[in-house]
């Protein structure tokens, strides 16, 4: 326990607070502001909130998180877990294996895979669909990275829901079936109330991870024209390419706050009954 606390203290809390402090300065990696950073208070925040590019990026991020994590990964992960429940044999193993493979492959490798899949001229997808020259990444950059992230991250939700479904007593589902309930009614009346807690955990984690997910940078680099510049890419562009570390730190903190808002929304939607529901 103690070494854990020390490690968390030194390598998590301390740098995190330092970063948050940097967010209050005009610190840059190079140039005059690197030699002599000034505390500028909330300037970074007001600048960011007044900046179209930031607001655009924020909106894209919200789409990205809602589309790929909340709807995509959570729904697909649940669907797979639901279909695989009580299903022995090779179908289960192969499906789980592939889904997990997408999750554990290194992100730089994965980016290449998707570029190869979606390329305008020679991509596998266009070859399959006989749509040569269709520019998925240019014409539908957000949809592309959303689908990409669904592919990438569904495994976690699948595993979590798989475990959660094991906790739904079969007798409850069967009671509903005996009453004549359809699959949808079973999910609504029996399964969902039972796994609320897991839904919450899942949404909290995948939202957080998706808010910070940087892999799409290697697919679209935020383009074209910032149409897929989600916040982590924006921070990368601002903090690393642009060297504005103070500003980037401020936005990181804003991302944290937005996550907090999401957490409250989830709690609200699930009516915060976690303790009661988790068995």
């Amino acid at each position: 326990m103690l070494p854990g606390l020390v490690l968390i203290g030194i390598f998590l809390i301390f740098p995190a607070l330092w970063t948050i402090y940097l967010g209050l300065t005009d610190y840059r990696l190079t140039g005059l502001a690197a030699a002599n950073p000034q505390v500028v208070g909330l300037d970074n925040y007001t600048t960011a909130l007044g900046d179209d590019r930031f607001r655009n990026s924020l909106w894209l991020t919200v789409q990205y998180v809602l589309g790929s994590a909340v709807v995509g990964q959570a729904a697909l992960g649940f669907a797979i877990a639901w279909m695989l429940r009580n299903r022995p044999g090779p179908v289960k193993r192969v499906t789980e294996g592939l889904v997990l493979l997408a999750w554990i492959l290194p992100s730089s490798v994965v980016a290449f895979l998707w570029i190869a899949l979606l390329d305008r001229d020679e991509g596998t997808l266009n070859a399959l669909l006989h749509t040569p020259g269709f520019a998925w990444l240019l014409d539908y950059p957000m949809s592309s990275i959303i689908v990409f992230n669904i592919w990438r991250g569904t495994a976690f939700s699948m595993m979590l829901y798989g475990a959660a479904l094991e906790n739904v007593p079969p007798s409850h589902l069967e009671t509903a079936r005996l009453a004549g309930a359809s699959t949808f009614q079973q999910l609504r009346d029996v399964v969902f109330p039972r796994i609320k807690g897991h839904v919450l955990t899942n949404l909290l984690l995948i939202s957080l991870w998706t808010f910070n997910d940087f892999t799409s940078f290697q697919l679209t680099a935020g383009g074209p024209e910032g149409r897929s510049e989600i916040l982590p890419v924006y921070i990368y562009n601002v903090a690393l390419s642009g060297g504005q570390l103070g500003f980037g730190a401020a936005i990181s903190f804003l991302v944290l706050l937005i996550n907090l808002v999401f957490a409250f929304i989830y709690l609200r939607l699930l009516r915060g009954r976690r303790k009661v529901v988790v068995p």
Binding site: L105, F112, W114, I115, A116, W151, L160, E166, S252
Partner: protein, 272 residues
């Protein structure tokens, strides 16, 4: 009977679509490394092992895989051990606001893993004399991974019946013995999950090892993968695809091993 048939067809379609969706992007990784002239198109390769040969001429490739292994194993071990201890303590001790605290840590971890935290992390590593050491990379990455690991593991610990531990307590086992003899084996699938998750995360991370390491002999695969570009920034697909394959293999092997050995899932411990 038709109802049954329809359900079967529906299920088969679902699995076909899911399998297609998840396997399609992987095709490239299966073909390009063996293609004499790989492009970003997936095609039947003009079969060759030449790419492997030219890749192995690169002086850093094999050592980078070793470094990746070292750093990933180190971080995974650290994360698993510390997260298990912390999750156990948090799961068994009732502290008000425990969940909220954990969530705050989780949020902070998202700041630390971001781009903007590199200066603090770099300076921290400099002051602690951890620049250009594997340990520095391991500690820095572990710090970011721990909260989520604790978050997930705590669910596992909450799910194990206390009667096992109490039984051991009555026999006189100390808390550490209980942890070692009882709790750890019970949550082993959880630990395995966390370990694989940590390894996969470390395996893919570029920025921290890049800024913390000086000597390319210590650089992990993610950093070396970046070197396989030309002066003008064009990827050398023959090398990159081949390296990607080599670089993915250990993770896949580990996954297969772990899932065979310990089961790879969340919650629940071992079914009785």
């Amino acid at each position: 009977m038709t109802r049954h048939a329809l359900a079967t067809i529906g299920r088969a379609t679902f699995f076909a679509v899911v399998l297609g969706f998840f396997s399609l992007p992987l095709l490239w990784l299966a073909s390009a490394p063996f293609d004499a002239h790989p492009s970003i198109t997936t095609s039947l390769p003009e079969f060759t092992f030449g790419n492997f040969r030219s890749l192995l001429d690169n002086p850093y490739v094999m050592s980078s895989l070793r470094n990746s292994l070292l750093q990933a194993a180190g971080s995974a071990a650290l994360v698993v051990v510390l997260a298990a201890l912390a999750a156990y303590a948090l799961s068994r001790v009732r502290v008000p606001g425990r969940d909220a605290l954990l969530y705050v840590l989780l949020l902070l971890s998202s700041v630390v893993t971001g781009t903007a935290a590199m200066v603090p992390l770099f300076e921290l590593a400099t002051r602690l004399n951890l620049i250009d050491t594997h340990l520095g990379v391991i500690l820095t990455l572990s710090g970011g991974l721990l909260p989520a690991a604790i978050f997930i593991l705590k669910d596992f610990m909450d799910g194990t019946p206390t009667s096992y531990e109490e039984s051991a307590r009555v026999f006189g086992a100390s808390p550490l013995q209980i942890l070692r003899h009882i709790v750890i084996p019970l949550v082993r699938p959880g630990l395995a999950t966390i370990a694989v998750w940590a390894v996969a995360n470390v395996w893919g991370s570029f920025l921290q090892p890049f800024i913390l390491l000086r000597d390319p002999d210590k650089s992990p695969g993610a950093v070396i993968l970046y070197t396989l570009y030309t002066e003008g920034g064009a990827p050398r697909l023959d090398l990159i695809s081949t390296f990607s394959l080599l670089y993915s293999l250990p993770v896949v092997v580990m996954y297969v091993f772990v899932s065979r050995r310990y089961g790879f899932r969340f919650h629940g411990g071992i079914k009785r």
